[in-house]
Amino acid sequence: MTRPTPFHSRTSALNEGQRWEDWEGFLAATMYSLDPLVEYNAVRLGCGIFDVSPLHKYEVRGPDAQALLQRMVVRNLAPSRPGRGFYTVWCDDNGKVVDDGGVFHIAENHLRLTSTLPSLEWLIDNSSGFDVTIEDVSEELVGIAIQGPTSRDLLRKLTNVDLSALKFWHCTDADVCDRPTLISRSGYTGDLGFEIFVRPEDAEKIWDSAMALAPDYQMRPCGLVALDMTRIEAGLLQIDTEFISAKQTLFEVQTISPLELGVGWMCKLDGDYFVGRDALREEKANGTSRWKTVGVELDVTYIEKYFSEFAMPLHLPERSWNEAVPIYADEAQEHLIGRGTSGMWSPLLKKYIVIARIPPQYEKLGSRFFIEEVIEAKTFSIPATVVKMPFFDPPRKKA
């Protein structure tokens, strides 16, 4: 049975349509309001509060804690010190992405890994020879994310630490409502925002205290639809959408390397060994990447034109989508070259944006191709252009 999170007594009371989905076995709100757009807007205008408890969390302690994670993930953790955090992916020996998550350097010899999929076994398998203890604290810690322009001002009212000193992807132990937590300045929305790890017994207290401030800081509880829309604008990847874990598919064709996934920048190929490094070195040296992952923008005037063929006004999707959509080199749809993995009409940017997987020769900014769009059960080709990703990257995210 899908389980409630420790916030459920609060979140279920707010969930107007009782719309939930399964997130790693937990009930996660799809949306709280009947129209997810108001939640999306709250994140960009005020802030949104998300229950992110279903994330898996692992404490890695011991003299080799940093070294173990360095061996496991593609990011260079050498500069890591207590108080730093990193977003990273990790690979298998073939250099194919297994999962993504956060590494939080909590204290000397103490790091925390968060992941989307269960990762205990992966950690243990990699840890032979390292002087570490690994503990799965997925259920001993729950989480909320507060994301949006007013998130810092709101959180200031609840904590004893100086949040203006907390930089992007840094973390700190903090009392929130006099309860011990870890606050990290990170998130999945591409906005100013924080993730707070709390003990389950403190969940309701912290949720209530934050919600009591909601009217003053224009905060709303937000569900997965708003989260998906904001993460697409931020150009952030989603498992099972932009990639399938190499652990979860039997078919090589479905795996993808970080170089292909658009996160090659985080792989330190000339540095110390990490799982998958050699395969990635080879991929890079031989130019054998099959794909590149890029941001593209659709030409909406064509969608409008094709709607008018049915005497219909332009209709744009009201939510994001996460199904693979064919991309063609030509309007006649004879040369299939790739796929759109997720996309949305961005109400903020007033643009139709898509995260796309295409062959390397189409990677350059300004490259053009066609994305399939089905209107009234008829297939059309919509011109699309490669643009800069993240699509939305406000200065406040890092300010």
Partner: protein, 528 residues
């Protein structure tokens, strides 16, 4: 040596800025001259009281054309509209009507009043949608000259005729009705509940010195549905930081394309040589010259103030003098110490959209009766917005900014004494009426700004304080806006063009007059 430009736009309102941006995109060297210290005209945000942003006049965005947002990339330049989720209508008996973004919830709410009305709500919305779709192409046309149509005019008319004939009988007949009926009669075909009727017909009289029972008001209803057509594209809602930020977004796009914008630069007259506009003179004596002069001001200012009467044909002058302004709306902006409590309100969230004070059509018609012969409504109809509920940039934490759009307040209010006394009497009537529906309002007021139509004229230059730069009645629309023969953005003076809301397709933060004018100035083709 005076500076020369390809084009000068008089007035930095949202249409003037739009026109300038498109001209600059086509490579022209453009100068915008704004009289005030701040851009936006009636779409302006000012911090009148410290920490509080007032959307001084225009307060909601619903009609902004998607093509303008797209072509000028306004999303990147700061356009950010929070959609309106609720309309809350408190009633005199302490009950209220609440409409939701979700149609099922609205239907459920209507059922409390009338099961018939609940069932017809969907039918009404569908019809309005179909009709808006039917007339929408008009928004993109340069109005044809009906007396002497050009080839392009004829093809426009043919295209539109073809479009209309494809509508189907029901839609076409309803379209002829909506063009001629009163808002109340039109809405009355569907609804029996007074407050539901009033809610719909209120939008038919906004900005117009007519009552909901006056014939011709139904059309304005339709005007308001145009924005709905674009669905996801242009939400009906509040711009982040106030409506002035829409103007700022357009200005930012204009500047990026090379437009020079000067504020505190009041134009005193258009310099005309041999029937051709060649430049403008500022009040301080500075002169600027250009091949094209476009005016974003209303027709009265554009032709009766900025231009010497001798430069214009007599019949044109008469037509402009007969163009109806008749400001009918006032505005009260309030800084509040906390969130007001409206009667019957279940959650403060329900106040985040619009709060309409219009318990019945009779209430609104009575308000009209009060102001018909001058003066203002003793108990006015109002649309109240509290944008700070969603937007933290409008007021300090815990405080709120309230915008009250008031219908009716006429330009002539001599019976109340001098202008200061008039303003005070009007402001008091508004607050007293709000208090009937929101008992704690007076305890929360930190600061209040009251604007009568006369104040809007003084401040923004809107003649007689008409928010649309001329009433949106059928006789003043399309090929008659502002007057027959000059609806094509041209004027009797060569190289002097119109680009304000006094031209087709009219007022509201639509930005279409500015775009269409630029297109005509550029010979019928925009550079996008």
């Amino acid at each position: 040596m005076a500076e020369t430009y390809d084009a000068i736009v008089v007035g930095g309102g949202h249409n003037g800025l739009t026109c300038a941006a498109y001209l600059a995109k086509a490579g022209q060297k453009v100068l915008v001259l704004e009289r005030r210290h701040v851009l936006g005209g009636a779409a302006v945000t000012e911090e009148i009281y410290p920490g509080f942003k007032y959307s001084v006049c225009s307060y909601v965005v619903s009609l902004l054309r998607p093509e303008v947002a797209r072509e000028l990339d306004l999303g990147r330049h700061g356009l950010q509209i929070h959609p309106q989720e609720f309309v809350y209508l408190p009633m005199e008996n302490g009950d209220h009507l609440l409409t939701h973004g979700d149609p099922h919830k609205t239907r459920q709410e209507f059922r409390r009043f009338s099961k018939k009305d609940a069932d017809r709500a969907g039918q009404f919305e569908d019809l309005m949608y179909r009709m808006a779709f039917a007339v929408k192409p008009i928004l993109g046309y340069k109005p044809p000259n009906m007396a002497a149509p050009s080839l392009r005019d004829l093809s426009t008319l043919k295209e539109f005729g073809g479009h209309l004939s494809g509508l189907g009988k029901e839609t076409f007949h309803q379209l002829t009705k909506i063009m001629t009926m009163s808002a109340d009669d039109f809405v009355g075909q569907f609804f029996e509940t007074p407050i539901i009727r009033a809610m719909h017909s209120l939008s038919g009289v906004i900005g117009t010195m007519l009552g909901p029972k006056s014939p011709g008001t139904a059309y304005v209803l339709l005007h308001h549905y145009m924005g709905d057509l674009d669905g996801a594209f242009s939400a009906w809602g509040a711009q982040k930081g106030g409506t002035g930020m829409v103007s700022e977004a357009i200005a930012s796009a204009a500047r990026e394309n090379g437009v020079e914008i000067r504020v505190n630069a009041p134009v005193s007259q258009i310099i005309i040589e041999n029937g051709t506009a060649v430049g403008v003179a500022l009040e301080n004596g500075d002169e600027f010259y250009a091949k094209t002069i476009a005016t974003g001001c209303d027709p009265h200012v554009s032709f009766r103030k900025l231009v010497d009467e001798k430069e214009l044909p007599g019949d044109f002058v008469r037509a402009i003098d007969n163009f109806k302004f008749r400001g009918s709306s006032g505005k009260v902006n309030i800084a509040l110490d906390g969130l007001p409590a409206f009667t019957g309100m279940e959650s403060p969230r329900f106040l985040s959209g619009a709060i309409d004070i219009c318990p019945s059509t009779d209430y609104v018609e009575q308000a009209y009766d009060d102001a018909k012969y001058g003066g203002f409504s003793k108990r006015p109809a109002m649309e109240i917005c509290i944008p700070s509920i969603n937007d933290p940039s409008m007021a300090p934490p815990g405080k709120h900014m309230m915008s009250i759009f008031v219908q009716y307040c006429s330009y002539d209010m001599d019976q109340y004494g001098d202008r200061d006394q008039q303003r005070e009497a009007f402001g008091n009537a508004v607050i007293d009426t709000v208090q009937e529906f929101c008992p704690n309002i007076k305890d929360l007021i930190l600061h209040k700004q009251v604007l009568t139509p006369w104040d809007m004229e003084q401040m923004i230059g809107l003649t007689e304080g008409n928010i649309f730069q001329g009433e949106l009645t059928l006789d003043q629309l399309f090929f008659s806006r502002p007057t027959a023969g000059y609806a094509d953005y041209k004027t009797p003076i060569r190289n002097y063009w119109q680009c304000g809301s006094g031209t087709h397709p009219g007022g509201g933060i639509m930005a279409m007059p500015g775009r269409l004018a630029a297109k005509e100035i550029l010979g019928g083709k925009l550079v996008i």
